[in-house]
């Protein structure tokens, strides 16, 4: 009998819902914009994703909610934090990931991911909104442009102006002050992006740099920030096609794992374990001993010198002990 699980991520500015099947494949996903944490938006996201998947709520075996509004999601069987879910979702979307940088509307997180694609260490931004999606809203308002224009401006900026990265409110004042002094909007936008990248680097330093690194959350769609952050980190960032759904996908996959456990289908035998690992790792190569830093004779020149991030093969202890697959 076919069964499905759902993950719902209720964040500060968007509600996301993902349905996966018993094999962990995405059946449907939805992102719904809203003003603030909103029960109405999460209802719309759930109804829409069910409609897209041609399913009804009765077809969903288990639902897990995540995000700041996780306890507001109707019908959820359990909650997990967005940190756990983003790690799991990013590991599924980008097998072998070791570092997840999640920047959402109100917060930012750096998550070190272990061999099993699950959270090892993590760091959250302080209560301040600097370095989050809200920070870019403030920039748009001060420059009187929309988000797409602010990104284009940042990519065109050449001069590095000094902008505080400590407080979104003060940064707005600084931007207005820089405009009054005649600084070019492109330079201002670039400088603000650069300061956010520096702040994010500080967050990453708390958990340690690692490759491959993936960006999730809505701000991952900001090409200028990705560029500046890659420069700041000294490494490439893997950009997902759908970075916003990573948390909801992680929740759906955890729901799937749990439902498998209820059915007695959990990882009880080594062959199932192998299948799960193969699914996560995608059979990619290990960058042995790498701590994520380039230079000193260490270049990420696998795959023909492309300098692309090198994923690692994920293995469970049980799998290692069992030896190579007979197939």
């Amino acid at each position: 009998m076919q069964w499905y699980t759902m993950g719902v991520d209720l964040g500060s500015t968007t509600a996301k819902a993902v349905i996966v099947d018993a094999a962990g494949e995405i059946v449907a996903s939805r992102v719904v914009q809203m003003g603030a944490v909103s029960r109405q938006a999460v209802g719309v996201a759930i109804e829409s994703v069910l409609e897209d998947a041609c399913l009804s709520s009765e077809d969903i075996a288990r639902t897990i909610s995540t995000g700041y509004g996780r306890r507001l999601v109707p019908g959820a069987d359990k909650t997990f934090t967005e940190i756990t879910c983003h790690a799991r979702g990013a590991a599924a979307l980008s097998p072998g990931v070791r570092l997840v940088i999640d920047i959402g509307g109100q917060d930012s997180k750096a998550i070190a991911v272990d061999d099993d694609g699950l959270v090892d260490r993590f760091a959250l931004n302080d209560r301040c909104a600097s370095g989050t999606g809200r920070f870019f809203d403030v920039l748009c308002r001060a420059l009187e442009v929309d988000l797409d224009e602010v990104v284009d401006l940042a990519l065109a900026g050449t001069e590095n102006l000094e902008v505080s990265s400590m407080c979104a409110t003060f940064a707005e004042t600084e931007v207005i002050s820089l405009l009054a002094q005649g600084s070019a909007p492109a330079d201002i936008s670039a400088s603000v992006h650069r300061s956010v990248a520096a702040r994010t680097l500080g967050l990453v330093a708390q958990v340690g740099k690692a490759i491959p690194a993936v960006m999730t959350g809505g701000v991952a769609q900001n090409k200028a920030l990705v560029t500046f952050l890659s420069d700041a980190l000294g490494q490439d960032l893997v950009i997902l096609d759908t970075p916003q759904i990573a948390g909801a996908l992680g929740a759906a996959l955890i729901a799937r794992d749990e439902y498998q456990g209820q059915l007695g289908l959990t990882v009880q035998d080594i062959e199932t374990d192998r299948q799960l690992v193969a699914q996560r790792s995608g059979g990619l190569r290990d960058c042995t001993g790498c701590d994520g830093h380039l230079g000193d004779g260490h270049a990420h020149d696998h795959d023909g010198g492309s300098r692309r991030p090198v994923p690692v093969i994920l293995q469970t202890d049980a799998l290692s002990a069992a030896g190579p697959s007979p197939r």
């Binding site: 700041y68 967005e82 940190i83 756990t84 090892d120 959250l124 080594i270 374990d273 469970t316 202890d317």
Partner: protein
């Protein structure tokens, strides 16, 4: 979860929540002097032996207002609160102040208190922080005598061997009873909120010790059938937080995340009650022994001792309590803890013991962010549990 008898618990909770109100009422009732001491090593027995009420001055929950201009923002919340209490008249009930600890921020607060309320005597005698030098014991004994003279001057009462021995006896008994609660919790036979245990310790710091001991004994006598915490809860050790207690709301928040606190090394916890004063021999020398022994029983980042370190103690005590992880609570700008924390973190990391740092402030609690942090930490520990269940 166990229930502490509410009638007996209520006066303890009142005293813990408002120590100044308790001291004011005690003063009116007895006509005695109230002597305030500052954490973490002043021997309250010395004041008690004069008949005065020894009170460890607590961080006030009121918003820091006038005190903001008296100490910089980068002082810890406890010392900024002390400055504010001095400025706003909250320290009026105290007749004198004593301290033996050398924290720079605490000394800054003491300076502010002296300047703002100069009519209140304030005596500082520094206990040596190097604990195992050949001269350490002699130096502490000398300072105990110096502090004795200061206390006698402030109270007008001579501390005799007999009066100090009697005070040592009642404080030892109080600590023994408090340790019963902590021992029961560590062995899993007592399950009460961490904030309730904090009330027991904090109230012992501010109440008449004989009255407090009687209430503790009543609580123990009336304790309902001992019950253990549910197996699904994650067992954690709380570490850090010197001088001032973590907010009860934070402790409650931790426990709301499927956590049971099984042990701690907090000042308003195991650290305070860890050590008794030797009951035999010269009672003044015994106070020096108590001071030196405390750092062995629960090591402190503010003290130096070659064969003692906090991280080794922590690893050993985790094995004893069965705690699955450590939450370090660090008051923002607490320099001793800030300097020591990297060592703690490194040691726990080397042993793959999950550890989480939470920084606390006087002003507010970022509850939702902290909840997310704790829940993630708990999820990680649960995953470790399930990994261990995987077939090898």
């Amino acid at each position: 979860m166990n229930t502490l008898d509410p009638t007996t618990f209520a006066p303890l909770e009142r005293a813990a929540q408002d120590p100044v109100a308790y001291a004011t009422e005690w003063k009116e009732r007895t006509g005695g002097l109230v002597i305030g001491s500052f954490p973490m090593n002043f021997p309250s027995e010395l004041v008690h032996a004069t008949g005065a009420l020894p009170v460890i001055v607590q961080e006030s929950r009121t918003t820091i207002t006038e005190g903001r201009s008296l100490l910089p923002e980068f002082y810890c919340s406890y010392t900024r609160s002390l400055a504010d209490q001095a400025a706003t008249g909250e320290l009026e009930v105290f007749d004198a102040f004593v301290l033996v600890d050398h924290c720079v921020q605490l000394l800054g607060a003491a300076d502010v208190i002296q300047r703002v309320i100069p009519d209140k005597p304030l005596h500082f005698t520094q206990f040596i922080s190097s604990m195992d030098d050949a001269w350490s014991r002699g130096a502490v004994e000398e300072k105990v005598q110096a502090m004795r003279a200061e206390v006698e001057e402030s109270t007008g009462v001579t501390v005799t061997d007999e009066s100090l021995t009697a005070s040592i006896r009642v404080f030892n008994e109080n600590r023994r009873l408090l340790r019963e609660f902590f021992d029961l919790r560590r062995t899993g036979r007592l399950h009460i909120p961490a904030s309730a245990l904090q009330v027991l310790v904090k109230s012992s710091m501010v109440m008449d010790i004989t009255e407090h001991t009687a209430l503790l004994q009543q609580l123990l006598d009336r304790l309902d059938t001992l019950s253990s915490a549910p197996e699904h809860l994650v067992r954690l050790h709380l570490s850090g937080h010197f001088c001032a207690p973590p907010r009860p709301e934070l402790l409650n928040l931790l426990e709301e995340c499927d956590v049971v606190i099984v042990n701690d090394d907090l000042y308003h916890g195991s650290r305070y009650i860890s050590t008794d004063v030797p009951k035999d021999g010269d009672p003044f020398a015994a106070l020096a022994s108590w001071y030196l022994d405390r750092n062995v029983n629960v090591p402190c980042a503010t003290r130096v001792q070659l064969d003692v370190d906090w991280q080794s103690y922590l690893v050993d005590t985790l094995a004893d309590s069965g705690a699955e992880g450590v939450v370090t609570l660090q008051a923002k700008f607490c320099e001793p803890l800030m300097l020591y924390y990297p060592e703690l973190r490194r040691t726990l990391g080397e042993r793959d013991i999950p550890e989480l740092l939470i920084e606390t402030e006087h002003e507010g609690l970022a509850a939702e962010s902290i909840r997310t942090t704790i829940e993630t930490f708990v999820e990680r520990i649960r995953r470790q549990r399930s990994k261990q269940l995987l077939p090898a």
